[in-house]
Amino acid sequence: MNPSAEQTGRDRSGRRVALSLACLLGVALLAPPPAARAGGVALPSRGIHATSMGGAFVAGAEGVNAFWYNPANLDESLVGAEAGLVRLSGAFTPSEGAQAGVRAESNGRLVPNPTLGLVLRLDDRFSVGAALYAPYAGFQRFDEGGSQRYALVESDETTLAYAAIGAAFRVGHFRVGATLQNVLGRVKQRVVVSGYSGLFGNAQDPELDILQEVDLRDQFTLTGNLGAAYDLGPVTFGASLQLPYKVAGKASLRVRLPSSVFFDNVTVEGDQAELSVPIPLMLRGGILVRATSRLKMEAALNFENWATQREIVIDAGKSITLRGVPGIGDYQLPPIRLDRRMKNTYSLHLGGDFEIIDGLHLRTGGYYEPSSFGDATYSVAQLDDRKLGLGFGASWDVGAFRLDLAASRVFGWTRVVSTSELRQINPTNPDQAAVVGNGRYETSYWVVGTGIQYKL
């Protein structure tokens, strides 16, 4: 690196840096919900570069993806933009109930998951930056009358996006970094709940189906992550910690009442409920080895503390009331408890980057991540089965620009559940809610994306 050139650059960028920071802060704190989406459980890799490396991107994280993977590596002035497409192919074939054997297939929308970022290296030791990004997750949308409906109808408008500002500090071979994240959360989910009271019909009686939509918009949740890296010759050690947080607030809760004559005179008053979705702590660690000047490889291990999510409660308090319930009149909607009982996950990532000619990098990698759900609570609400991901990608440096491409195939297993304890949601009669999790689940992902980066 030419110090004079760098100096010149710094001089040139003085005002631009300030303006850019201000702009990024404004975007981060005031922007509308970003398009980046993720389910409660995202793929273990996100970002074009990281995806092509199989998510093995902790010690060697760079560019705008360093905001997520390891902010300690925010040490190069650049601005980057990426767009990823995550295609989740999910299907469910129940093994019991009125629709046993009827396969339901997800038809989730394919919407770009963008990443925007700016990093400014203020001097040799200190860098700052800001970014917008979101974890990669698939989107699901099923038929509302499908056999999966008691678990999920659609969730493809659920978004968790991070607007982050970060800073990194280098001391010799050691770097540390941190970001302050504002999570722009929107949890929107449609699911069919059962209006079966026990008195007539049955738990899976379509005439008693209630289509429920929960929509939580949480625009301001502060959290952050910390990262560290140490260069030891050709080896770099990296680690990062994503702090836990909750997406919480008043959610709107709207329903379409059942078609049964029982509900002919029933109306719903109120549509606000408290919802809190805990997002766990995540700990990542990686070792990057630069085997040659053109080849580098990284192995990473991610830990995600999903066990913290035992259940999700949608509590309307006294604010939502069913009016005109036959024989009862007013019926206050009780808290809806979603049984999660999630488990911590450990995912292993391996990846390599080989510069086959100057400026052209080919990358590949893979990972394995177990499911965060046991059979007892597994459902299409969160098709988080075991995952074996294989990623490929390339980068081409053209002057100050770098173009990135990545594709990933995530193989899921066909999962047959026969010991499900997951019951349909039945606000008025939870004891008689039917178990809806037994059956065969099929899950796989395709991830493709591209990005561009400009070195300032």
């Binding site: 925007l116 379409r256 009862i328 009780p334």
Partner: protein, 1033 residues
Amino acid sequence: MARYRHLTLALVPALALSACGEPLDTTRRSPERGTLGEEIFRLFHRDFEAEDPRRARGFEEAREDFVAAVDHVFPPGELAYAQDFLVKLLPLYDDGTFPQSTRLIAGLLERLSADGDALRGLAVIGNRAGYVERTREEALIRRIKDHPKYRDLAKAILRLQLDHDGLDGQGDADPNESNAMARLMKPLSKRLAELEISEDDERTLVLAANLLLREDERFRDPGGVQAEIVARDARGMAQVRALEAPFVDRDQDRLPDVDEEGRFVSEAGPLDVAPFGTEGPRDQRSRAVDARGQPIFEYIDVGQTLTASLLRDARRLSAADVPMRAVRTLETVLGERTPEGSFSAENSALLDLAHAMGQGLDVDELPELIGLARELVDGHEGATAWALLELEAQLDIAEGYDVNLRPNAEFFDDLMGVFRKVVEVPGLLESLLEAFEDPRVAKLPTVMAQLMRHKKEYVSDGDYFEETIFGEQVDRTQLDTLENQSLMQRLLHLMHDTRGKSYAPSNVQRILNLVPLGFGQLNDIRNFRIDDLAEFYLLAIIGEAEVPRGVSNAVNLMTRVPVIGIDYGLSQQPQPSELALFLNQDVGLLGNPVGNEGLAVRDNDGDTLFAASESPEAAPPWTREGSRENRLTVALYPLVRAFHAHGQLNLLMDLFEVLYQHWPTVEGGSYQDRSPREARYAQLSGLARFEPMLIDGFEKTKLLQAGQKLLREANGVALSGGRPAREVLAILVRKLLTIDLDLRTREGKREVLVDGARVTPLSPFDLARGALDELDRLVHRSPSTLEDWNALLDELHAVYLGTERTGPESARFANRRALPTAATLLEFLEERATKHKAALGLSRWITRDVVAQVEDLLTAPELPALLDVIHAIDEDATLKANLGELRDDLLDDARGLGDLLVTLGTGLSAAKDARYAVSVLRFFGRELDPDTKLLSTLAALTDKAVALDEDEHMLELLRRALDAPPRGGLYAYGLTDAIRQANRVDPLSTKNASSEDLAKISAAAARYMRDDQHGLEKFYEMVKNRTVEGRAR
């Protein structure tokens, strides 16, 4: 900078686009709705279909009625209110009232489903389809629910139950609340639960049912309602007219065979022949007929049954407040309650009276006696009613006089003493009854009235011949002073004075004894002696007084000798008038007769013989011609003859003596009661005071003539054994009056108290007197009780004994149904007595069994509770008024009487069904025990619900459920039939429900009530969870 801004701005639309989803369309997607009934049917049908398609198809069988029922009960405008009302009921879920109620009912149903006997009974009873004319089925229920005050009535009845169940609002015992209902239900339920009844046709229930359903067209008022039910045999089965095919009688019990399900059987199997209906051959009245067009069964027109008649009477009695008067009087008569709350049998005047009646009627001829009474009532209305009419007139007259005997007077005892002696003489009573029929006796009232109305200081022979005896009336403003005594009183004194007093012409006899000659006529004079002057006069009445020829000739000779001064002689068979003339002249030579008081008879009321004797020109009393004479001698002739025929003239004189003894008053001063040895001794009871009343009665009524007519007609009644009625009556009278040294009161005593005096030894009549005396004492305890008692008797008398004149000597019962009512009751009693006599148990039946039954009735623990409940009703103005209106409706021929009669008739008939009904009754007896709290809880629930139902729509819904659909029955049946059909063993069966079906249905119903997954308990949970606070409980 511009580059960055453009980059940011380019991304924002992409973000917005991606975040834009379709809003949830909350519009319900419901299909086109049918009626409420159709929708509810569909709800259940889907469930049944999912559970068991056969069950669903069975339910489909009931679809039409089910849908119609729901739509009728919940018309569109009502549904919203029903919802509002149901919401108002929520507090009853919160306080446990609703759940407790359904749990209790569920318990009942569970026990029922396990009670094979009760289920069999119910199944059999259920097989009695078509036993009532279709248009009359459930008509009573509909009539009640259509009653204008139905709602008020229902609420008032609820309040009655709740205010007298002894429980507080939480169902715990409340010592401050009346527990009359509980006390009523407790023994009733126990009685039912422990019911043991045989299957024979001698059961009380069968007998009562048969009696109350006896038909007589006279029971129906003109234009009265007609309504038919089928007659039933002792098993409760429809009674066939002829035991012929297809019916069979394999067991040779002379009844058509039935199977275990209570169905008639033929050689081919069960027979399904509804007495009323539309299937099979029918006549115009929907009755089942055979191939010849003849009805297969016997039918009862309940409009002309005893029940109908009693109910028609009940309307009038109720309007006169007779029931409450009866209740109050009964309570007074029954006295204090025992610590256990029932009435004691000890010292019960009513039981004493029953005991007395039993003892008095303990004769072998009882069936004949009852038959005689029945014949007189039924076949001789004119005479019977006339006798009653005259008796009533007599009593009315008596009531107009405020007179009494002297306190502690023993007139009645003395009189009874004479009567007893009379009945003890074999044949005398029969002879007297026969003599009583003699037309001459009919003159007695007139004659006696004449004697009592008039006075005369001295009746001379001139008065006699000139017929001026009866010219001066007794001054009723004065007492019976010496100058103001009636001729009757003086005549009685004469009888007293001359009784036992002999007479002989002693002066002449002494002279003749000096003459040593002896021949027939002279000896006649020497030996002539009248041993008893009074008796001699009575003998003269019947031509049995004899004067020896010598004496007669001598006396007659003397009349021709002026110096002797005898004006009137004596024939050898002197008439009373001769004796009157003879005794009232100075026969100084012969010696004037002197009475017991030492005075010449003619100076000591002997002149009253003129007033008693026939007129000079009249033929002797013992001749037909003479009988036309209105004189005492003529009127007494048949009686004197009867006494004389049995050598018992002394008893007649005893009777006169009793009258004499008790006739004078103390105040009159012409008699004394100090010493029997002194003249004019009498007991001074004061019968003289009654003279005006007696005169009035004798002159204005024809009681005696009516009695004669009745007796004559009675003698025309053909009794078994060919005995005349008077003989049978005499047996009864003798039984009643004869002292029986073994006779005891119920307590084993040999004495009773009458007017404070001991009476012992006893006759049945004395027992009755003792009981009646006690009864009288009790009803006189307070003016109100006395008023009740009198009004009660008056009204009962007016209804059942009221008469109206149809001719000079005839009458009829004003209530045209009184006669057949009495006749029917008497016929029933006659049959019972005859049966017991044939079984050699008549005496035990009448003296012990009947009394025991009465005792059971009066000492039953139900009775005081029932009275308390009646009082409670009476004190509840609303309930009383509403019940009164309903009563008037139900007892009106033009309105509800037909429906009421059909229901009662059916109930009575069904009650015969001992073999099966007993198990059902036992079951419900156990369930209705107040300890189960079933009734009180349900009443509390209903009461609270009604209280929450400001517009009383719940009662309106109930009322609509009881409406009749076009096909008959009740709309409510549309619901119950659907439940039955869907839950029976074979839902596709169209037969009546078997016991197995009922077990399954009741178990299913219980299960639904207890089910916390799909039944009511689940709903309760929903209700509890309807609020946050509820869920937290």
